[in-house]
Symmetry: C2
Subunit: 354 residues, 2 copies
C-alpha cells in the first residue's frame, strides 16, 4: 500500500509522545525518520521506530531529555544531549552551528550523551539549505572490523557533507565506512541470498558469503580496506573522543541493549562561503561542477553521471507527489510499535490519495 508521508509522520509522532517524548521532539524525530524513507534510505527510516520505542520504554533513552550547551564560544559549542533521542539533540546542535557559521564564517559543534540520530546527511542538507557548506558525523556501536582485524572493534561511523547547489538545491553525501550497510546484509539474509566476499567476516574472522553470519556476531568489513577504516577512526575522534562521548566498545548497542545509554557522539562543522570568500558565488560554482561532471563521457551502460544525493532528492520529490511505499521490515516495525505503545495502526487511514 502506498502511504501518505504526512500521515505516516503523524503516526510516528503519536507513538513517540505516548512514550513521553515532548511534542516538538516527537514531531521532529518522526520527520527525520520518514524523510529517510522518502529518500530511499529505508535502513534509517521508520524501521528504527521500534528500537527508539524500546529504548524510551526501558530507560536507555530519556524521553524528557533537554539538550543543553555546556561550553560555548563565538565559533563552537559543546552540547550535552542529556541521554535523550539523537534526532532532537542533533537538530539543536545544527541550529547552533547554523547561527554561528552565518555570523562568524565557521562553526564546530560537538554533542555527547546522545543516541542514534538517523541518516546524518539530513542534517548536512539542512545546513546547505541555509547556504552553508557542512559536514556531520556520528559514532556508533562496534560492528566493523579494523583492517587486519577478525571481529567487531569499531563502528561503521557515518560521515556526511553537503554543499548548497543553487538550482540543484544541494549536493549531499552520506556514507558509512563499511563496504555495505548492515541493513543490506540483513535484507540478503531475509531473502535467503548469498553475499559477495568482502562484505562480512564470520564470527571466527574469516570472509563469508553467508549473510546470517552477521547476526551470529560477524563483523562488517571497511570499504577499501585501510581507507574506510582510517575514516572510521577520524569520525571516532572528531565526533566521539573530542565530544567526551563513549569510545569504541564502550558505546552500547542500542538495538540489542535498549536499557543502557549509548553515549554516542556527533560533530557538526559548518562554513559560510559568503564570509570565507565573498569573491566566489559558491552555489553557482557547485552548479557548474555538477553540470561539467554530468556532461562527462559515460561508461558503456551508464545513463547518467550523478552527483551525491541526486537520487535521494528525486525519490523524495516522488514520495511527496505520489506517496511512499515501505519495505516489509518497516511495516513490521510499525506493527511492533503499535503493540508496544498503543497507537492503533490503521494502515487504511494512512493510504496516499493523489
Amino acid at each position: 500500500m502506498t502511504l501518505s508521508c504526512e500521515r505516516l509522520r503523524q503516526y510516528c509522532a503519536d507513538a513517540l509522545t505516548r512514550c513521553g517524548v515532548r511534542e516538538d521532539d516527537a514531531r521532529n524525530t518522526a520527520a527525520v525518520l520518514v524523510s529517510a524513507d522518502m529518500r530511499g534510505i529505508h535502513s534509517h527510516g521508520v524501521v528504527r521506530m521500534i528500537g527508539y520505542v524500546n529504548c524510551l520504554k526501558s530507560g536507555g533513552v530519556r524521553a524528557d531529555a533537554v539538550p543543553r550547551i555546556c561550553r560555548e564560544s563565538a565559533v563552537s559549542a559543546l552540547v550535552d544531549a542529556d541521554r535523550g533521542l539523537g534526532i532532537p539533540a542533533t537538530l539543536f546542535a545544527v541550529e547552533i552551528a547554523r547561527q554561528k557559521a552565518l555570523e562568524c564564517g565557521v562553526a564546530v559543534v560537538n554533542v555527547f550523551n546522545s543516541h542514534h540520530h538517523g541518516a546524518c546527511g539530513w542534517y548536512s542538507q539542512q545546513l546547505a539549505d541555509a547556504g552553508l557548506m557542512a559536514a556531520v558525523m556520528s559514532t556508533g556501536d562496534v560492528i566493523m572490523a579494523p583492517s587486519g582485524g577478525a571481529g567487531r572493534a569499531i563502528g561503521n561511523n557515518p560521515f556526511s557533507y553537503a554543499l548548497p547547489a543553487g538550482r540543484y538545491r544541494a549536493v549531499c553525501y552520506d556514507v558509512a565506512m563499511s563496504a555495505v550497510a548492515a541493513g543490506k546484509i540483513s535484507i540478503a539474509a531475509a531473502q535467503g541470498e548469498r553475499i559477495p566476499l568482502g562484505w562480512l567476516l564470520d564470527p571466527s574472522g574469516l570472509p563469508t558469503t553467508d549473510p546470517a553470519d552477521y547476526d551470529r556476531g560477524g563483523a562488517l568489513v571497511p570499504f577499501s580496506g585501510h581507507k574506510g577504516y582510517g575514516l572510521a577512526i577520524m569520525v571516532e575522534a572528531f565526533a566521539g573522543l573530542l565530544s567526551g562521548g563513549a569510545m569504541l566498545s564502550d558505546i552500547h548497542a542500542w538495538n540489542c541493549d535498549p536499557g543502557t545509554s549509548g553515549n554516542v557522539g556527533h560533530q557538526i562543522i559548518a562554513m559560510n562561503p559568503a564570509l570565507l570568500n565573498p569573491g566566489v558565488d559558491l552555489a553557482a560554482r557547485v552548479e557548474a561542477m555538477i553540470e561539467q561532471l554530468a556532461a562527462a563521457e559515460k561508461a558503456p551502460g551508464t545513463q547518467r553521471i550523478l552527483y551525491p544525493g541526486q537520487l535521494e532528492q528525486e525519490r523524495e520529490r516522488a514520495a511527496m507527489e505520489h506517496g511512499l511505499d515501505l519495505p516489509d521490515a518497516a511495516l513490521d516495525a510499525l506493527r511492533a510499535v503499535s503493540e508496544a505503545c498503543g497507537p492503533t495502526l490503521d494502515m487504511e487511514s494512512m493510504r496516499f490519495e493523489e
Copy 2:
C-alpha cells in the same frame, strides 16, 4: 646506495635556489619532499623535483612568489599563493591555521593560485604536533573518472587528517580518492606487470589490466565507486570552489604542461581540543583508542592492527637512523634536475654514514 636525508635535502634545496626560489622556501620544499621519501611515500618525494624545476624554469610556477592573505577573520583566512610553489604556500597557510586555532579553537584557511604541495598528510601532522586536530586537502588536475564515467573528469583529490596521539606522536591519514595512486600504476608499467581490474579504465572507458593505458590517457577509478567519487567532490568544493581556485578540467596538469599555472586550491581545517572541550584529554583518548584497536583480535595472517600513519612514522625513524634508499625513478629525477639547473649530483657525497 643508502643516502643521508640531510644531504639529499641540501641537494634539492640547492637545485631550487638555482631556479630562483628564495632560500627558506627552497629549504622547506626540499624538507617536505624528502620527508615523503623517508615515510615511504616515494610518489610524493624527490621524484617530483624535476617537475617542480620544469615548472619554475618555464614560468608555470613563479620562483619569487610571495603568498599573502587576501581576507582574514579571527578564525579564517584566504591565501593567494601568488602562483608559486605549493609547499611554501601551504606552510604559510598552516602557520596561520595553527595560530588561529590555538587562539580561537577553530580555524579554516583556504589557498588558491597554488601548485602541487606534496603529500598533504605532512601538513596535518605538523598541526597534530602542535596539539591540534587537523584536516588538509587539495585539488589536482583531472586524472580520475566519476562513477559511471568513461574518462578523466575529476582529480583524485587527496585528503588527510591528523590527531595528536601522545606517546604515539600522531595519527595521520593521507589518501587520494582513486582505488590506487597513479604512481603504483606507473611502477607496474615500468616492471611490465598487469594490474587488477578496478584500478584503471582504458582510453575508451573500459576496465583494463594494462597499466600502460594510463599514459595513453586512461582514467583512474575511484575507490569504492560512489564513496571515493563523492569524497573527491567534497575536496573539489572545500579546497577548490571555495578558495576561488580552478575547477575540474580548468586545473592544468602541471607535469604535462609546466608553463601554465595550475591554480590548485587547498583547505586547512584546524581544531584545538583544549579549547573546544577542556574536559577531555584528547591525546590520551587517542592513545587509548590506538591501544584498544591494536589489541583487537587479528585476522589469520595479520601480525599487527595499525593506526593510520604508523608505518610511515616507523619508516621515517628508520630513515633518520639508517639512511634512505630511493627508488630508481627518484634517482632518475635527480639526474634530470642536475642537467636542468646545474648542481652536480655527486651521489658519493650524499652517502649515509652510520
